[in-house]
C-alpha cells in the first residue's frame, strides 16, 4: 500500500474577502452609482450659490412680489432692481393644473381602453404610438401648438367664455384670447398625456386577475368590474402618474414660451392672454440680461428645481408604494 505517499491536502482558508479586481470593480460601480446624488447636490449648490446674493436682497419677496425690473447706469452698475417670481409661479401652477385637469381623464380613459377594451393588435399599435409621442421634442409641440392648434383652441375658449362665462374660472374682463394660459395648458396636456397614460396602464394591468374574473362571474358588466376592482386598485397610482405629469408640465420651457404671452402680473383668469412660467422667464430674460440679472435667473432656476423635485419625489413615492402593495 502506498498510503504514506498520498499527501493529505491542507484545509483551505475560507474567506469572504473579495479579490482585488472585485474591490476595484465595486469601487468604480459605487462611484458611478453615486453620481446622480452628486449631480443633484451640485445643481442645488451651484444655483443657490449664484443666486444667493439676489435671494438675500429680495428675501421672501422673491416669491411673493411680481415685478421684475432692473435699471443700470451707463457704466453697467445696478441702480435699482426688483425681482419677484409671484406672477411666474402663479402662471406655472395655473398652466400645469389646466394641463393635468385636461390630460387626466383622457389618459385614464385611454389606459382603460388599452387594458380592457382594445384587441391585441390595436393595443400594440397604440402603445407604440403613445411611446413615440413621449419621445417627440418639446419644440415640435411648441411650434405645432402655435401654428396649428392655437386657432382652434382660441375658438373653443371663446365658446367657453360665451356659454360658461358665469362660472368664475371662465370669466374675464378684457376679451383677449390669444396666447392665454388656457392655450398653454392644452399644449402641455397633449405633452403629458403619454406619461400619465403609460403610468396608469402599468398600474391597471397589475389589477388582480382573480378579482376581475370573480367580478365577471358574478355577472358584472365591464364598467361594473372596472369600478369595483380596477379603480380601487389603481387610484393612488393614477394620482402619482398625474403628479409626474404635473412635474413635467411645470418644468416645460420651449413649448410654453412659444404659445404663452408672458406678463409680469398675477393673473388667475385662465382664458386671458397673459400668463407666466418660471422656465420661460429664464429663456425670455437670458438673452440680454446683465450679470446681476443672471443671478436672479439662477435663483429662479433654483426655485423651479426645488418645486419640480418636490412634485416628482412625491409622485414617485406614491407610484412606488402602490406598485408594491399589489392589493
Amino acid at each position: 500500500m502506498s498510503t504514506q505517499e498520498l499527501q493529505i491536502p491542507l484545509p483551505r482558508e475560507i474567506t469572504t474577502e473579495p479579490r482585488r479586481s472585485d474591490k476595484i470593480f465595486r469601487g468604480v460601480v459605487t462611484i458611478g452609482g453615486l453620481s446622480s446624488l452628486v449631480l443633484l447636490g451640485l445643481i442645488a449648490l451651484f444655483l443657490g450659490y449664484r443666486g444667493f446674493e439676489v435671494l438675500r436682497q429680495e428675501g421672501i419677496g422673491f416669491i411673493t412680489h411680481s415685478d421684475w425690473s432692473i435699471s443700470t447706469d451707463d457704466a453697467g452698475n445696478v441702480i435699482d432692481s426688483h425681482f419677484g417670481l409671484a406672477a411666474m409661479l402663479v402662471g406655472t401652477i395655473l398652466c400645469s393644473l389646466i394641463a393635468v385637469v385636461i390630460a387626466l381623464p383622457i389618459s385614464v380613459f385611454s389606459a382603460l381602453f388599452l387594458n380592457f377594451y382594445a384587441p391585441e393588435w390595436l393595443k400594440k399599435f397604440l402603445i407604440t404610438v403613445i411611446d413615440m409621442m413621449a419621445a417627440f421634442p418639446s419644440i415640435l409641440f411648441g411650434i405645432w401648438g402655435f401654428l396649428v392648434l392655437m386657432p382652434s383652441i382660441e375658438y373653443w375658449a371663446k365658446l367657453l367664455h360665451r356659454y360658461l362665462g358665469f362660472i368664475p374660472i371662465f370669466d374675464m374682463q378684457v376679451p383677449v384670447f390669444t396666447r392665454s394660459p388656457f392655450v398653454a395648458g392644452v399644449v402641455l396636456s397633449i405633452m403629458i398625456i403619454p406619461i400619465i397614460t403609460s403610468v396608469s396602464r402599468e398600474i391597471f394591468s397589475q389589477a388582480p386577475l382573480d378579482r376581475i374574473q370573480a367580478a365577471y362571474a358574478l355577472g358584472a358588466t365591464r364598467w361594473a368590474m372596472i369600478k369595483a376592482v380596477v379603480i380601487p386598485h389603481g387610484r393612488s397610482g393614477v394620482i402619482g402618474g398625474a403628479m409626474l405629469g404635473l412635474g413635467r408640465a411645470m418644468g416645460e420651457t420651449v413649448a410654453v414660451f412659444t404659445v404663452l404671452n408672458i406678463v409680469f402680473q398675477i393673473n388667475w383668469e385662465m382664458l386671458l392672454g397673459a400668463g407666466g412660467n418660471v422656465a420661460s422667464l429664464i429663456i425670455l430674460k437670458f438673452g440680454d440680461a446683465s450679470p446681476y440679472e443672471i443671478k436672479a435667473l439662477m435663483a429662479a432656476g433654483l426655485v423651479l428645481f426645488l418645486l419640480t423635485l418636490l412634485v416628482n419625489g412625491l409622485a414617485n413615492l406614491i407610484v412606488k408604494t402602490t406598485g408594491k402593495s399589489g392589493r
Partner: protein, 349 residues
C-alpha cells in the same frame, strides 16, 4: 347521438343581424346629428364635428341600452364610448403633428439643404440659399459627446442598483427617478453656473453636451436597470460557480447577455435629448457655420436652427423651421424604431 354530430355549434356571443343593424343606425344617427348640429348652431370647424359626433354616439348607445337592458347596461355602454373617445383623443395629436410636419416641411427639403450651411444666408432668404448641414453636424457632435459621457455613468448606476445592491440602493433609485424630472432649463442653468461662467467663459458645443448628459443619464440608468433585472439570476450563479469573480461575471456574462437591451436604453436616451432645445439655447451660442471643434466657438444644432428660423417669422423662415423639424423628427423616429426593433427581437428570443 347522431344529432350531436349534425348540430351546428351556436355562437351566442356573436352579434345577430338585428344587433348589427341597430349599431349601424346609431352610428349613422350620430353622424347625421353632428352635421345637423354644426349646420344649425354657431359651432364650426373639424373639431366640432368630432365632439358632437362622439357626444351623440355616447348618448344614443346609452339610451338604447337603457331601454333594452336597464341602467347598468346603459352605464356600461356610456363608458364604452368614453374610453374609445379617450383613446382617439390621445392619438389625434400624434397624427396631426406628423401630417403637419410632413405637409409643411417637405417643400423646404432639397438636396442643397444637406450640403450647405447658413454662413452666407439668413433664415429669411429664399429657400435655395443655405441649408442645415451645420445643424446636422452640430447635433451629431453634441449627441456623440453626451453619449461618451453619459453611457458609462448611466450603466454604472444601473449596475450599482442590480449587481452590487449596496446600502444606498433605495435612495439612489429614488434620486435617479427625481433626476429624470429635472427640467431641461435647470440643467442648462447648472452648466452655465458651474462650468461656463467660472471655467470656460465662452459658448461651445461641449457646454451643451454637458447639459444633455445630465438629461440623458437618468433615461439610460432606468432603462438599463430594467434590462439588467431581466437577466436570469442563474446566469450570475453559473458565473460564480465556474469560479469567476464578480467583475468577470458581470463583464463577461451579464453585460453581453444584456447587450441588445442596453443598446435600446442608449438609443432611447439619444431620442430623449436629440430635440432638447432649452439648454442648447443657453449654452451653445448657435453658430451658422460647420464647426467641427466642440471645444471652441459656437456650435449650431437642429433645435437651435429651428428656433432661430421660427422666430425670424417670414414665410421662408417658417418653412425652414418646418423642414428642420421634419429632419429632426425623422432622426427621432429612426432612433425610436430601431430601439423598438432591437427590444422586440430580444423579447422574441
Amino acid at each position: 347521438m347522431s344529432n350531436i354530430d349534425s348540430a351546428i355549434p351556436t355562437k351566442p356571443w356573436r352579434a345577430s343581424n338585428r344587433e348589427r343593424l341597430t349599431d349601424i343606425s346609431i352610428f349613422l344617427g350620430a353622424f347625421i346629428s353632428s352635421y345637423v348640429f354644426v349646420a344649425l348652431t354657431p359651432m364650426k370647424g373639424k373639431l366640432a364635428y368630432f365632439a358632437v359626433f362622439f357626444i351623440a354616439y355616447a348618448l344614443f348607445t346609452s339610451i338604447f341600452k337603457a331601454r333594452q337592458r336597464g341602467s347598468a347596461a346603459a352605464k356600461d355602454a356610456l363608458v364604452n364610448s368614453l374610453v374609445a373617445i379617450g383613446a382617439v383623443v390621445t392619438v389625434i395629436p400624434v397624427f396631426s403633428i406628423l401630417l403637419t410636419v410632413l405637409r409643411k416641411g417637405l417643400p423646404g427639403i432639397s438636396f442643397g439643404l444637406f450640403t450647405h450651411d447658413m454662413a452666407l444666408a439668413s433664415p429669411t432668404d429664399p429657400l435655395n440659399n443655405g441649408g442645415l448641414l451645420h445643424a446636422i453636424t452640430g447635433t451629431l457632435t453634441l449627441v456623440a459627446i453626451a453619449l461618451v459621457l453619459s453611457v458609462p455613468i448611466g450603466i454604472l448606476t444601473a449596475l450599482y442598483l442590480t449587481e452590487i445592491k449596496g446600502s444606498f440602493k433605495g435612495p439612489i433609485r429614488f434620486l435617479v427617478q427625481a433626476m429624470s424630472g429635472v427640467p431641461s432649463i435647470v440643467a442648462g442653468l447648472f452648466i452655465l453656473s458651474a462650468v461656463l461662467y467660472p471655467i470656460t467663459k465662452a459658448y461651445s458645443g461641449l457646454m451643451g453636451a454637458l447639459a444633455l448628459t445630465i438629461l440623458m443619464i437618468p433615461t439610460i440608468a432606468r432603462t438599463s436597470e430594467e434590462v439588467l433585472n431581466l437577466i436570469p439570476n442563474e446566469l450570475r450563479e453559473a458565473g460564480t460557480a465556474l469560479g469567476g469573480t464578480q467583475w468577470r461575471t458581470v463583464a463577461m456574462i451579464v453585460l453581453p447577455a444584456a447587450k441588445s437591451g442596453l443598446t435600446t436604453a442608449i438609443i432611447l436616451g439619444v431620442a430623449r435629448i436629440a430635440g432638447e432645445t432649452a439648454p442648447i439655447l443657453l449654452l451653445t451660442g448657435g453658430g451658422d457655420t460647420v464647426n467641427p471643434n466642440a471645444f471652441n466657438g459656437p456650435m449650431g444644432s437642429l433645435p437651435y436652427y429651428i428656433w432661430k428660423s421660427f422666430n425670424a417669422g417670414s414665410p421662408e423662415a417658417i418653412t425652414r423651421a418646418w423642414a428642420g423639424l421634419l429632419v429632426l423628427i425623422g432622426l427621432v423616429l429612426i432612433l425610436f424604431t430601431s430601439a423598438r426593433l432591437l427590444g422586440s427581437r430580444k423579447a422574441a428570443k
